[in-house]
Symmetry: C2
Subunit: 119 residues, 2 copies
Amino acid sequence: MTTATNPRVLDHPAREEIRLEGVLHALSDAVRLRIVSEMARADTELSCSFFDLPVTKSTTTHHFRVLRESGVIQQIYRGTAKLNALRREDLDVLFPGLLDSVLDAATAQARRLGNPDTL
Amino acid sequence: MTTATNPRVLDHPAREEIRLEGVLHALSDAVRLRIVSEMARADTELSCSFFDLPVTKSTTTHHFRVLRESGVIQQIYRGTAKLNALRREDLDVLFPGLLDSVLDAATAQARRLGNPDTL
DNA sequence: GGCGTACTACGATGAGTATCGTACGAGCGT
DNA sequence: ACGCTCGTACGATACTCATCGTAGTACGCC
């Protein structure tokens, strides 16, 4: 059934397993904050290569994994690509308003620091 | 003027120097989240020793320093004690709603995980 | 089948950090 | 002055993490 240890099936924490500390830690990195902000703006599933990040591909993989394992995003393989989506509903149920205020804060800070391209 | 390098005067970041990543990182630790939750509930200046934390005194000092240097709390010496206060106004101006949703999330999670004493 | 693209795995590295114990310093109360 | 309490400093340790480069795998397309 390929359910055992299929490398093409990615492990995600169930909603109840998501921990606030893990989410905050995942969001406490500039690169990951940027990824999440962009995903929130797009509101569609985006491939990893969509993002133009100031790090190499291996590092990008690492950051996406952190986001997935902390429960912030969901990742599924679609052929050769890997589509990413925010777990908005799960996060809103667990921590109402949290994601939005973090995203607003990120926007506000980017504007304040004069990095509007970082959004 | 005792402004030079007085060990009794603690360095705090100015409001404009507070970075979202730093705040989120400071809050992404269970011990520190607990400290901040308790401070928000008390709404008064609390000494470090007020908190009953599952770590030693040196580790406690470390966590308070992280909170101070990230801009989450303010610390002042008052005789032999060191009083701690949340920098609510600064945080609310910079990141409206953020602190409250994190605190709500912490409360919700504590309730969900059955640690009501952690609040 | 063979090529190119998208992403991963692995190992390395350098920086950060959570933790502790012990020893120390600064005030307060008596 | 003396001791007590509160908190710090410093060194050690073990762990985590952000980053990279290289090599590899999986899939779609020609």
